[in-house]
């Protein structure tokens, strides 16, 4: 590896280290902060202002009753429909708040695990051990983390959204909310591609090992 690449690897490693320690700190502080903020929220839902971002699908109807709206899309005067991040504000209970905090914490741990592999990988590259067998395993794990992230996150969003909507109600004054599920196929595909590439590195590591024992 050239000096420039090695310097670049050091910069990236330092950057990963900063993110790593910041996230470790956040992972520890986050649940405590969620609980403290949750406990300090006003008991009156109208004053809660929880601001919980949730991925939901929504349908907005014209001046028809919500009951009608749920029966048939066309008959109920559907104005807007779509999927996106919806900010839940004055929820009747704090379940949505705690659930959203828990989802963030779970995804944070998955991200941290991937980041740990990245840090180890770069540390190894900096030491000049790019073709270590362990690196192939690390890249493979990063691939699995990638796939896991793109499957687990939509599932948590879906089931989390479902629980939250059960709590706050699906239909509110012409607005009909549904839990949304959106799988990022590209992300999953990228994860599989990373796993395949890890196999290439394993082969390279094996050749490198063979080469190192050729006198």
């Amino acid at each position: 590896m050239s000096t420039t690449e090695n310097r670049l690897a050091r910069i990236v490693k330092r950057f990963l280290d900063i993110i790593w320690y910041a996230l470790i700190f956040t992972a520890v502080v986050w649940p405590i902060a969620v609980i403290i903020i949750g406990l300090s929220k006003p008991s009156d839902p109208a004053e809660r202002h929880a601001d919980i971002d949730t991925f939901l699908s929504f349908k907005i109807y014209s001046d028809v009753s919500t009951e009608l709206a749920t029966q048939s899309e066309n008959a109920a005067g559907l104005l807007i429909r779509g999927k996106g991040m919806v900010q839940l504000n004055n929820t009747p209970s704090l379940l949505a708040w705690y659930l959203s905090g828990a989802i963030t914490e779970i995804m944070g741990f998955i991200f941290l695990f991937g980041l740990l592999q990245m840090r180890r990988l770069f540390a190894s590259v900096i030491k000049g051990e790019s073709f270590a067998r362990e690196n192939a395993g690390r890249i493979k794990t990063i691939g699995y983390v990638f796939i896991g992230w793109h499957i687990i996150y939509p599932l948590l969003q879906y089931f989390g959204g479902r629980i939250m909507l059960n709590d706050i109600g699906f239909n509110v004054q012409g607005i009909h909310l549904h839990p949304a599920f959106e799988l990022n196929v590209g992300g999953i595909f990228a994860g599989f591609a990373i796993i395949v590439l890890s196999g290439v590195l394993r082969e390279a590591a094996s050749i490198h090992h063979e080469q190192s024992l050729t006198v």
Binding site: L213, T214, V215
Partner: protein, 71 residues
């Protein structure tokens, strides 16, 4: 039962009254690599290495390499 190639480096060094360090200096192979050869850990040997060793030890490749049965 399998067969391996054994490098008779120890024997030849004793016969030639030469140390591993001396051999390393003559053939220009690092001590680490000579140690790999000596311990039988080498997976392959280059022709150029074989020629250099044979010249330094004044022997034939056949004197250096020996087929040995294991297990």
């Amino acid at each position: 039962m399998s067969r391996i190639i054994k490098i008779n480096l120890d024997l030849l060094l004793v016969q030639r009254k030469m140390s591993l360090t001396e051999l390393s200096n003559i053939v220009g192979i690092t001590m680490a690599n000579l140690s790999i050869l000596k311990r039988g850990k080498a997976r392959a040997i280059r022709f150029s290495t074989l020629v250099a060793l044979c010249e330094a030890l004044d022997c034939e490749p056949g004197d250096l390499l020996q087929l040995e049965e294991t297990g």
